[in-house]
């Protein structure tokens, strides 16, 4: 079974209503002795089997009831997390640094040996362009306005050049999914896109014909991998601690190993918040531009 981002359209169409049922439609109900784990569609697609494996693993390792919660945007998940309706959530570094006072790290995924990844600036495979500067006037696809790799990195790069996206690009839009950014650029809907480098690499393994129609124009510096965070005020609750232990010990469990294999991750680490300083710097740069 392919990992996230590898669903066929048929699977996607059949999975959507099931996922909606699995998720919490309205405000997340507080449960006694349970874990509500939020997932962003930016990072994880609707691979029901993978989600089920993850839920099963977490429930078995923590001994608690685990509910996976999905929403369309980062913003929705972040709001649920900050408001305490979720025990923890797998979010992006950008909302983590944005709400650093309200959030605490639970664990940071390790990819290719370190809790870091890059943002990719991609264009059509046949396009003659050598840098971001060549993309002026493009129709550009972002992933999510609260995504580091799918928005903030490019936004900061433009800020360095004293540009705002709406000025630099002829038109830009959000696809609310890294795989969708790749699809938008590959189909020609967008002439360029900002995408999670980890997601692009995984897709290139699973769907090389899709990424083959795109070309990585620029790679950002290494930045903190999208972390699992929890509300700061509940970072020491038994549920959060149990979740943290489960994630950190994931590569020692057969089912956990299976899930990590599907996710192309090495495991989870107890990384320091300073891992996200690079993202924080970009946020500061963008905010300074106003």
């Amino acid at each position: 079974m392919p990992p996230f981002c590898a669903l066929t359209r048929r699977q996607l169409l059949t999975a959507a209503p099931a996922a909606a049922v699995a998720s919490i439609a309205g405000p997340v109900q507080a449960a006694t002795r349970g874990i509500k784990f939020g997932l962003t569609p930016v990072f994880l697609s609707n691979d029901l089997e993978l989600l089920d494996q993850l839920r099963t693993f977490l429930a078995r390792r923590t001994g608690l009831e685990v509910v996976l919660v999905q929403r369309r945007t980062y913003e929705e998940i972040t709001s649920l997390l900050i408001s305490g309706q979720l025990t923890a959530a797998w979010i992006c570094g950008y909302p983590f640094v944005s709400y650093r006072e309200e959030l605490a790290l639970v664990a940071v995924p390790v990819w290719r040996g370190q809790p870091l990844y890059r943002s990719y600036l991609i264009v059509d495979a046949d396009r003659h362009a050598s840098s971001l500067d060549d993309l002026k006037g493009d129709v550009h696809a972002f992933s999510d306005p609260n995504s580091n790799s799918g928005y903030l990195v490019t936004r900061a790069a433009l800020a360095k050049r004293q540009w705002r996206p709406e000025e630099f690009f002829r038109h830009s839009f959000f696809t609310y999914g890294h795989r969708n950014v790749v699809r938008a650029v590959a189909s020609g809907l967008a002439q360029s896109g900002s995408v999670d480098g980890y997601v692009w690499e995984v897709i290139s393994e699973i769907e090389p014909e899709l990424t083959g129609r795109t070309r990585v124009l620029e790679r950002s510096e290494l930045l903190g991998f999208p972390p699992v965070a929890c509300p700061r005020r509940s970072q020491d609750t038994p549920e959060t601690l149990a979740l943290k232990r489960a994630l950190l010990d994931m590569n020692s469990d057969p089912l956990g190993t299976e899930v990590l294999k599907e996710l192309r991750l090495d495991g989870f680490s107890d990384a320091k918040p300073s891992v996200f300083d690079g993202i924080a710097a970009k946020l500061a740069l963008v905010r300074s531009l106003g």
Binding site: R9, L12, L13, V139, A141, R170, H171, F173, F174, T175, Y176, N180, R183, A184, S187, G188, L189, A190
Partner: protein, 496 residues
């Protein structure tokens, strides 16, 4: 004389034989029927295809509309594109080339073919010009593609529109295949039916053709029965027709034979009358000669009596010789191998004298022949004598029978006129009609004329009869001269 045929007979279908006309007509009808059937089938096929296409495209647009309206309202480009991209996979019955969603002013929000329809650009011609003016739902078919448009209406406001192009090459190909199949099968069937029709009609028409051939040969002079081997089944319609026809042919042949027999009898009767007249003509000089012989016996010693008697005897003998010579010329040799001379005709006057005298008639004799003419001598003399005897028979005593003969440029022309009561209408019509007309068989109704007419036909001549205004009948006989002269032969020896 042959029947005058119209020009370009082969180009005139009305002149074609029935065995050809019927299959051609059947083939034309088949072509017409197949053309109508082909047209109807194709029309129905196109209607059905268009109806299915419209239904499918309506279903497609319905689905797309409900899916994209919320995203169009939010100007969510990705979701509109994603909806179009997913829908393209779901409608397998439609070969969708592209689907494009525009805003109310016609700018592209998203398209399933983004490279062809970039964001925020105007929808290109010719699609826009064809369908932009159309309202809620419109279609346009052209050059193997089918364009549809559906306005996106939300709360009674037009918030955008969907345009789509569907490839209908497979439908057009299907129409072509149906058309080709129809043409091939109809052509095969038409040819098959035409061939079967031709063979069938030809077989059906065979007895008619046999009958027609027999009747055509009959018109040429010799009526022949249909051979037994061609009659077929006697109980069939044509078998019965052939039997009746053969009976008719036998009756005609019998009639012909009877006519010949009667003509011969009349000829013998005429010969008898001539012989009787000749005997009378010979008897008169014999009486004179016997008187002369008696005078010689009694007064032969007197020179004057002797000379007078010898002269009378010589005159009598010369008269007898002329009469006998005329008879010989008429009856002795039928096929003369010499040209006709004026004397040959003048002899007839001598031969006719007994009849003229017997009926106390006047004979006007004008022979203007100034050259020899290569015509059958015996036949012409027979014909002229027949006409003269008929004229004598028809003319009352003390009236006149006229005879005229003249050499023409291409033969000889004879005319015999009488002052009788006029020829009966039936005989007059018979003379002036073609030879195939049956001869009248009334007593003394002119079997001689039948023979004259037959002679004229055989030598390519012409016989005409008219009723004269002053009374009586005029019969005119024209005989053409043969191109090749006869071998000259000695006709008469100076014998009695």
């Amino acid at each position: 004389m042959g029947v005058r045929r119209p020009k370009f007979t082969r180009l005139n279908p009305l002149q074609w034989p029935l065995a050809l006309r019927v299959p051609v007509l059947a083939a034309l009808m088949m072509v017409t029927v197949s053309a109508v059937v082909t047209d109807r089938v194709l029309t129905r096929l196109i209607d059905t295809q268009n109806r299915h296409l419209t239904e499918l495209s309506d279903a497609y647009l319905d689905g797309i509309s409900s899916a994209v309206i919320p995203h169009v309202l939010r100007e969510d480009i990705w979701e509109v594109y994603d909806a179009l991209d997913r829908a393209a996979q779901r409608y397998e019955g439609l070969d969708i080339a592209w689907t494009t969603v525009t805003d109310p002013v016609g700018r592209v929000i998203a398209s399933s073919q983004p490279r062809a329809f970039p964001l925020q650009t105007e929808l290109p011609d010719p699609v826009r010009s064809r369908l932009n003016g159309a309202s809620d739902s419109a279609t346009y078919e052209d050059h193997g593609v089918f364009h549809v448009k559906r306005e996106l209406v939300h709360q009674h406001r037009v918030v955008g529109a969907i345009y789509a192009e569907m490839r209908i090459g497979t439908l057009i190909e299907e129409r072509r295949e149906v058309l080709a199949t129809l043409i091939a099968s109809n052509t095969t069937l038409t040819l098959l039916f035409a061939i079967i029709g031709y063979i069938t009609v030809r077989r059906m028409m065979r007895p008619i053709r046999v009958l027609s051939e027999s009747m055509r040969s009959g018109a040429a002079g010799s009526v022949t029965p249909v051979p037994v081997e061609l009659i077929g089944r006697p109980e069939s319609e044509f078998g019965q027709l052939f039997r009746r026809y053969n009976s008719l042919v036998q009756a005609v042949a019998e009639r012909e034979r009877l006519l010949k027999s009667l003509a011969e009898e009349e000829r013998l009767a005429a010969l008898g009358r001539l012989a009787s007249g000749m005997a009378h003509e010979i008897n008169n000089p014999i009486g004179g000669m016997l008187n002369a012989v008696d005078s010689l016996k009694r007064h032969g010693d007197r020179a004057a009596v002797r000379e007078t008697s010898i002269r009378l005897i010589e005159k009598g003998l010369l008269g007898i010789r002329d009469i006998v010579r005329s008879s010989l010329a008429t009856y002795r040799h039928r096929q003369d191998e010499r040209p006709l001379t004026a004397t040959d005709l003048d002899d007839l006057a001598l031969l006719l004298q007994p009849e003229i005298k017997r009926k106390n008639l006047q004979l006007e004799w004008r022979n203007a022949m100034d050259r020899e003419i290569f015509v059958p001598v015996g036949g012409v003399r027979d014909a002229a004598l027949n006409l003269l005897l008929n004229a004598c028979a028809a003319t009352e005593p003390n009236r006149t029978v006229s005879f005229e003969a003249a050499a023409t440029q291409d033969g000889i022309e004879l005319e015999v006129r009488d002052q009788g009561p006029g020829m009966p209408r039936a005989i007059l019509d018979y003379i002036n009609a073609p030879l195939s007309q049956p001869a009248p068989l009334a007593p003394r109704s002119g079997l001689g004329l039948w023979m004259v007419k037959r002679f004229a036909y055989e030598v390519g001549g012409q016989l005409e009869a008219t009723t004269r205004a002053c009374g009586g009948t005029s019969v005119r006989l024209k005989i053409p001269e043969r191109k090749k002269p006869f071998a000259k032969t000695q006709e008469f020896s100076h014998v009695a």
